[in-house]
């Protein structure tokens, strides 16, 4: 019996020691919530999201407003209007928002002439049973939801586009076409023979040109 009681106490002691180790870490984890984390050093986006939480907004509100602030600020030129013109000189936007409670997702891709892409993505969750809307149809949806339809071009995006044209459209993302896409602008036609080379993906992407 005594041995048994001793065993019980040993068990309790082990449990208490275990809790003693875990509690500070657990408390630290609890103190570390809420948390807002975002890619790149986009401070105003982080600050906006944090203030939304502080003012009682939801996590989805914080994501929408935080990313939306980056769209307004044109963060690094890689977010929002007036950046990353495509081959025809147009800026198009992609955005997505996800609710980790319901697993609902709202997203827009290749969105044209609407600045607040993450806002439209949120409306996809709120007003449709779909997940992803693309292209001009996504823009029409945005207009129906009350978003302004406006030009996303800026002097900067026009300048980027002009420079690219003046550099024989280099770099670009074509392969296996004629004329040779590494030297010339299009229009391109497909080459009869397709060659398979290992992709060299690091050459064109950098801190100012990324998803």
């Amino acid at each position: 019996m005594a041995a048994g009681r001793g065993g019980d106490w040993q068990g309790v002691t082990v449990v208490l020691l275990f809790l003693g180790v875990l509690t500070p870490a657990g408390a630290a984890s609890a103190a570390a919530l809420p948390v807002v984390i975002n890619t790149w050093a986009f401070r105003t986006a982080a600050d906006t999201a944090w203030r939304v939480l502080e003012s009682g907004g939801s996590e989805l509100d914080a994501v929408e407003r935080g990313c939306g602030q980056c769209e307004i600020d044109q963060c690094d030129g890689s977010v929002g209007y007036g950046g990353s013109p495509d081959e025809s000189g147009e800026t198009t936007l992609d955005a997505m928002i996800m609710d980790g409670n319901t697993m609902e997702v709202g997203a827009v891709a290749d969105l044209r002439r609407v600045k607040n892409a993450i806002g439209v993505a949120r409306k996809v969750i709120e007003y449709t049973k779909h997940t992803l809307l693309v292209g001009e149809s996504a823009s029409l949806f945005a207009v129906k939801m009350g978003f302004p339809y406006e030009d996303l071009t800026t002097q900067k995006s026009l300048s980027l586009y002009s420079e690219w044209l003046n550099q024989s459209c280099q770099p670009n993302y074509w392969k296996n076409v004629v004329p040779d896409s590494s030297k010339s602008c299009g229009p391109y036609k497909r080459r009869e023979e397709v060659t398979y080379k290992e992709e060299q993906t690091s050459s064109q992407r950098n801190i100012h040109n990324h998803d």
Partner: protein, 141 residues
């Protein structure tokens, strides 16, 4: 691109992305940002993640989904991010990319692929332990 993960006081997770994509892309091209599991992923039973970089490569590996699944299995967020980057490295050693991860207890981390010109990744964190949104840096692997 911006990718963001927000975890509320009760552990509720939300995530999102916004981007104008790759410069001089073909019209119609879409990257990883609007694809759930690629650009970002959120699950209030595990955590959230968001990726950034070369979407044409990264979207093939669903890195955000993979990171959240690692965290669901109990992997520390930093290690979860690193494992995702390592997995892509095996197929595309020169890819440009990074990922941020956070779990439902508020732990967080990030990782990136080291290539010439990209050896560190900067990201922002706000939580009650930091007096203001704070820039953090990780060395790429």
């Amino acid at each position: 691109t911006i990718g963001m993960v927000v975890i509320g006081a009760s552990g509720t997770v939300a995530s999102g992305t916004s981007t104008n994509g790759a410069i001089h892309k073909l019209p119609g091209r879409v990257g990883d940002s609007p694809i759930a599991g690629a650009g970002s992923y959120a699950d209030s039973t595990a955590g959230g993640a968001a990726a950034t970089g070369d979407g044409d490569i990264m979207m093939r590996f669903l890195p955000s989904y993979q990171a959240v699944e690692y965290m669901r299995m109990g992997t520390d967020p930093t290690l979860a991010c690193q494992k995702v980057i390592s997995r892509i490295q095996k197929y595309a050693p020169k890819f440009f990319g990074a990922i941020i991860c956070a779990n439902t207890t508020g732990s967080y981390g990030a990782a990136c692929n080291k290539i010439p010109g990209f050896t560190q990744f900067h990201f922002m964190v706000s939580n009650p332990l930091l007096s203001r949104p704070t820039e953090q840096v990780v060395d790429c692997i």
